[in-house]
């Protein structure tokens, strides 16, 4: 916990991505597989950790401290974890002498503790910590670090640490799970590359790259390209396997629940890259109409009738067990 809190603080203070990568690499080097796995779970958004709700933490603080002074401080600081870390009165001498649990121990404890015991556990930890450690503890407990480290940066650091190609990490990334033992075993050259079920995970998309008019146009040959319509919806990846359809946004978020009207007749295992659109009789209507369907957890019949969703397919990524990028283009 001590080392991890220090890492988070250094990350938030580092302006350059390269420095962040170096810091992460340094952390992975000085910790074991278990600690690294838990650290990665906290840093990546794959594993949603939310042991205590923000409102719960707030009311805990209100019961422990003067509410007015706490709220004035919170107004000023603007970040709850940070406010608590600075507001909490603890004996700094104790903080330096006593040991905090390891990050993996801490998270395992949180996973297993009943709510009521959780509060005592948290209070005790905050008493043992210095402000930075308190900040890290609350950030982890409430989920959402917001320390300016993107998933890409984390992946780059992993690639550097394990001396593996970034592309390889990208390919398996969405099939990996907390606490990432198989990933680190591979990075540490203890075991082979983890095998990922292609019909269960999102595959990172190749999005458009900017073309430099002056340089690139001279090198590019139009015979190597095919043009196709780019529709004004949202880019999605559709995975069909075992009668189930799963819809991912371009960032890999599972958005299946919002679109129950997307169904497929095929029972074959297929991964499709396409554009999600709305409109009656599969006639695309405006992006504004599509927005009526986005970010809804529950969708009413009425909305579905008014704005039915459909897919314009661009490409097939996997067909049965095969990666289609290995096939010829016009097959």
């Amino acid at each position: 916990m001590k080392k991890f809190a220090e890492l988070l603080e250094n990350l938030i203070y580092s302006p350059s991505t390269n420095k962040k990568i170096d810091l992460l690499e340094g952390y992975f080097k000085s910790n074991n597989t278990l600690e690294n796995g838990y650290a990665l779970s906290v840093l990546s958004s794959n594993y949603k950790m939310k042991f205590i709700r923000v409102s719960e933490i707030k009311s805990l603080m209100h019961s422990k401290f003067d509410k007015t002074l706490f709220e004035l401080s919170y107004d000023y600081v603007g970040d709850l974890a940070e406010t608590i870390s600075l507001f909490w009165k603890s004996n700094m001498d104790i903080a330096n002498s006593k040991k905090l649990p390891l990050l993996s121990e801490f998270i395992k404890n949180c996973e297993n503790k009943p709510k009521k015991k959780m509060y005592d556990y948290l209070f005790n930890l905050l008493d043992l910590s210095n402000p930075t450690q308190r900040w890290a503890i609350i950030k982890i407990l409430s989920g959402g670090l917001r320390i300016g480290v993107s998933e890409k940066t984390v992946k780059k650091a992993l690639s550097k640490y394990g001396n593996k190609e970034l592309e390889k990490i990208e390919k398996i990334w969405h099939g990996l799970n907390h606490p990432y033992n198989n990933l680190f075993d591979w990075l540490d050259n203890k075991k082979p590359e983890p095998i990922i079920d292609n019909f269960k995970t999102f595959h990172p998309m190749m999005l458009s790259n900017p073309i430099d008019e002056k340089k690139d146009f001279q090198i590019l040959d139009h015979k190597d390209f095919v043009a196709e319509w780019k529709w004004d919806g949202i880019r999605v990846q559709i995975i069909i396997s075992n009668d189930k359809v799963v819809l991912f946004s371009r960032n890999g978020d599972d958005i299946t629940e919002s679109f129950p009207d997307i169904t497929f007749f095929s029972k074959k295992n297929v991964v499709i890259d396409g554009e999600l659109l709305v409109g009656k009789n599969c006639q695309p209507s405006s992006f504004n109409d599509l927005q009526q369907r986005l970010n809804r957890k529950k969708v009413s019949e009425k909305i579905i009738d008014e704005f039915p969703a459909f897919i314009k397919a661009y490409d097939i990524l996997f067909f049965r067990e095969k990666r289609s990028s290995k096939f010829e283009f016009f097959r």
């Binding site: 938030i12 203070y13 600081v77 940070e82």
Partner: protein, 329 residues
């Protein structure tokens, strides 16, 4: 307010404390720009404050100056005025106004921690206290400055290829940081921005240990490594700092206990070193002065006003006319 109005005018005498615009008679608590303005007719202040005002604004920044020593009283009509050390920067003073036995104390900017540079803060009992409230929230608890400065030493050892650029306000903070570096055992030449030169020389002449300093603009070659450069915070973001390759930015300020502030200012090594009271110092001072009435100025007054009222002390926020929100010096 009885003897003072909201512009800190001692009404029976028509003498202003730290006036924001030129007046006939002014008492200046210390030489920071938000307290000491030029253009007054008569200025009453400590010798150091007057010296520094003259260095910064020129010999003629007031028509006449009168030096008053700490503890020395000046009787004008029915009013006794005495200046006491405020512990903020060299020459900083609290101003006690004794009018027919009713004591009103204006702290100016102060800290109760001894920085080994300015004369240590002296606690004065009073009926009415006018206190600053720059760090008037319980989240502000300044750590030990000697420990904070070690962050720089540690980073120097870890990053021998880098220039460490520390942003410090030119008067007070810069000299304190240099002095702390010397106390921590750093013996190398420290490089300074031109804006710091005259004040540093003045501090040196006042027997403050600053060691060997060199002005950056005297150098032709900027290809130096593993050095410390001290500059005003504004210079850190300016083109001026581009001449240093491989630099690590640091800044010394009480605000930097808040990580988001550090991030906003793109500081890699925040030094939480302040010349103002933190929350504990403020509340302790309020209690110990035994003041029945407390007025709180420039800063986060609201929490302190609330705190005083909880303790049964009469308290009000006082927005001093023309004074902007405090940026820490």
């Amino acid at each position: 307010m009885n003897i003072l109005d909201s512009r800190l005018n001692i009404k029976p005498l028509n003498i202003f404390i730290d006036p924001q615009h030129p007046v006939e008679k002014a008492i200046i608590s210390h030489a920071h720009a938000d307290h000491a303005k030029s253009g007054h007719d008569k200025v009453l202040a400590t010798k150091e404050t007057i010296d520094i005002m003259k260095i910064r604004y020129g010999e003629n920044c007031a028509k006449s100056f009168q030096v008053i020593n700490y503890g020395e009283s000046l009787k004008i009509n029915d009013v006794d005025i005495t200046l006491y050390p405020a512990g903020h920067i060299l020459g900083s003073a609290q101003i006690l106004i004794n009018f027919k036995g009713q004591k009103t104390l204006v702290t100016g900017d102060y800290k109760t921690v001894d920085d080994k540079i300015s004369t240590p803060f002296e606690l004065i009992k009073c009926n009415t206290l006018v206190s600053e409230a720059t760090f008037g929230l319980p989240i502000f608890r300044h750590p030990n400055a000697n420990e904070e400065i070690k962050k720089i030493i540690t980073s120097l050892n870890k990053n021998p290829q880098s220039t460490h650029l520390i942003g410090c306000y030119a008067l007070g903070k810069a000299q304190r940081v240099i002095n702390l570096l010397r106390d921590s055992g750093y013996k190398e030449t420290i490089f300074i921005h031109g804006a710091l030169e005259k004040i540093c020389r003045y501090y040196k002449n006042s027997n403050i240990k600053l060691g060997n300093l060199e002005k950056i603009s005297n150098l032709k070659d900027f290809d130096f490594k593993n050095n410390i450069v001290i500059a005003p915070p504004s210079a850190l973001k300016d083109r001026w700092s581009r001449r240093f390759k491989n630099k690590i930015s640091s800044q010394a300020s009480g605000w930097l206990s808040i990580k988001q502030r550090v991030k906003q200012n793109q500081i890699e090594i925040p030094l939480v070193i302040s010349d103002h009271c933190d929350w504990n110092e403020l509340t302790k001072t309020i209690t110990n002065t035994r003041a029945e009435k407390v007025l709180l100025t420039h800063g986060n007054e609201e929490a302190l006003v609330y705190w005083c009222k909880q303790k049964g002390i009469d308290a009000f926020p006082l927005s001093i006319h023309g004074m902007k929100e405090k940026v820490e010096k």
